[in-house]
């Protein structure tokens, strides 16, 4: 469970990027974070993923207060999340297989055990036949799916994606969104930021709308 209580984030020399945001996300929920670019979506996701700490307020992840944790404890919190970044952040100096291997190596899993899980993750996103290829040779949609494979390979309980369909055409975008739905159906919390007016989502979901750093929760009926 993720709880934000009166969270404010401001960077040195700027206004509040996020002000007094409070929210609660249950395990297994599907959550969309919407809003214009610059509304604070990425910041909200970074706060949830313990990449950044709030300037004010508390962020609780499974009852752990991120603001109070020591710097050295943060990496272990981050491992609970699978992250899909806006710009993929794939490593172009290694094959698809080795890109997906990175989170496992960080968790100390290597060798045959790791290989099995990497192939399973690649299979899930439909890239098993491209494991030896370099990411640069993949299309935009494939790169996005590779990023998702990397995010899910260590079986996180929370999946966070920042604009995963941003640069994709509709068919690819639908593909990606149904992938996320599939993860949500097996109990993974999925949090997706998007600037698109929603959307093609077919599952029931919660919407968090951000406008200039202010959070509102419009009712959504599916």
């Amino acid at each position: 469970m993720i709880v934000l209580d009166n969270v404010t984030k401001r960077y040195p020399g700027s206004q509040d990027v996020l002000s007094n945001a409070s929210l609660q996300i249950e395990q297994g929920e599907m959550v969309y974070v919407t809003g214009h670019s610059g509304a604070g979506k990425s910041t909200l996701l970074k706060l949830i993923a313990a990449i950044e700490r709030p300037s004010n307020g508390t962020v609780l992840i499974n009852q752990q207060n991120v603001s109070k944790l020591r710097e050295s404890a943060l990496p272990y919190i981050r491992r609970k999340f699978g992250l899909v970044f806006q710009d993929h952040k794939l490593l172009y100096d290694r094959s698809c297989f080795h890109n997906v291997a990175l989170p496992l190596a960080i968790n100390g899993i290597t060798g045959a055990d790791a290989a099995k899980r990497i192939r399973a993750a690649l299979d899930k996103v439909g890239l098993l036949h491209k494991e030896k290829m370099m990411p640069i040779t993949l299309s935009g949609g494939e790169q996005q799916r590779l990023a998702i494979a990397r995010a899910v390979v260590s079986r996180p309980s929370i999946l966070i994606a920042d604009e995963p369909t941003g640069h994709l055409d509709q068919t690819y975008a639908d593909d990606i969104l149904s992938l996320f739905s599939a993860f949500q159906q097996v109990g993974v919390t999925v949090i997706i930021a998007t600037h698109d007016a929603l959307t093609t989502a077919k599952q029931p979901h919660k919407v968090l709308h951000l406008n200039q750093g202010r959070l509102s929760m419009p009712e959504v009926s599916v």
Binding site: Y11, A49, A50, I51, E52, R53, S55, E71, S72, L74, P75, Y76, I77, R78, R79, F81, L83, F85, K89, L91, D93, L102, P103, A105, I106, N107, G108, T110, G111, R150
Partner: protein, 301 residues
């Protein structure tokens, strides 16, 4: 434990693979490190060879105690008794003036001159071999002996050894300065190399941190790289210094033979090898640690 060992093994494999990818440039860097390391190693080896020389020669050195010409057999006896009680003295022997004269006469060049002398000009003498070679202890013994009744003069035949040992002390200080300066240079060379590597792997570091890599995990491959640079550099340095010493020894042994000595410069011993390797590895680790510390990201509070 197993997992811990495994992750270290994986890192080592990965670092070695990267090393081999850029084998040529890595060898050049190691050679730079080697030259930096070889210089103090060579100076050290030369210094220890010479200080070994002084200690072996010093063990043949004597203290000569010359008695005054008026010394009676009783005085000689009492000095003899005092000498036997001194703990500092390993052994000694007495040479009466008559015997000294006889020894001198054996050289035919001298015999003509000596036979013209009205009386024996030589004094009775004790020749002492001290136990300790420490110059302070010898100095003290010399002073004590000079106080004795009937002793005219005490002479320690180590003047040139003293000069040499002062020079060696100076050399050791110079070595210390040289080693510290070059150690600093080594620190900078390895640190810069690691910084370059970090630049090329900046993306990987960033992503790894975002998805939960600890600082230790990020740092580990760079520490290994630093240690490997140090180790390979040290090995090259030992090869270089062995070659240089061997080259010197070719000329030195010829020179030493002319002086009827079997002196030669010492090659790196096991101890020197170990210390060189460990020092270089230590500097490598240390400078890699500092290089990485700067590029680790901190979450903004």
């Amino acid at each position: 434990m197993n997992r811990w060992l495994n992750s270290h093994l994986q890192t080592l494999k990965q670092v070695i693979a990267r090393w081999r990818q850029h084998l040529f440039s890595n060898l050049l860097i190691s050679l730079t490190i080697a030259v930096t390391l070889a210089l103090p190693v060579i100076v050290y080896l030369v210094l220890t060879s010479f200080s070994h020389l002084t200690s072996t020669i010093q063990s043949d050195s004597h203290i000569s105690v010359f008695l005054s010409s008026s010394a009676t057999p009783t005085t000689i006896d009492s000095i003899h008794n005092i000498l036997t009680t001194k703990e500092m003295i390993a052994q000694f022997h007495f040479v009466p003036k008559a015997e000294a004269l006889k020894q001198l006469m054996m050289d035919s060049n001298n015999s003509n001159i000596i036979s013209t002398l009205p009386e024996n000009p030589l004094p009775d003498a004790f020749f002492i071999e001290p136990k300790s070679l420490a110059s302070e202890a010898i100095e003290q013994l010399k002073n004590e002996l000079a106080q004795l009744d009937g002793v005219e003069a005490v002479q320690v035949d180590d003047a040139w050894l003293k000069r040499l040992s002062y020079l060696l002390t100076l050399g050791q200080k110079a070595l210390l300065v040289l080693a510290s300066l070059l150690g600093f240079a080594l620190f900078m060379v390895i640190g810069n190399t690691i910084r370059m590597q970090i630049l090329t792997q900046q993306e990987e570091i960033e992503v790894s941190q975002l998805i939960g890599a600890t600082h230790r995990f990020i740092r580990r491959p760079f520490l290994y790289a630093g240690a490997i640079y140090g180790f390979v550099g040290a090995l090259f340095a030992l090869i270089i210094s062995t070659a240089v010493i061997a080259l010197f020894n070719l000329s030195i042994s010829a020179l030493a033979t002319a002086y009827q000595s079997d002196f030669s410069l010492r090659l790196p011993s096991l101890e020197v090898t170990l210390i060189t390797c460990l020092t270089a590895i230590g500097i490598g680790l240390f400078s890699a640690y500092f290089a990485v510390a700067k590029s680790l990201f901190k979450s903004i509070q």
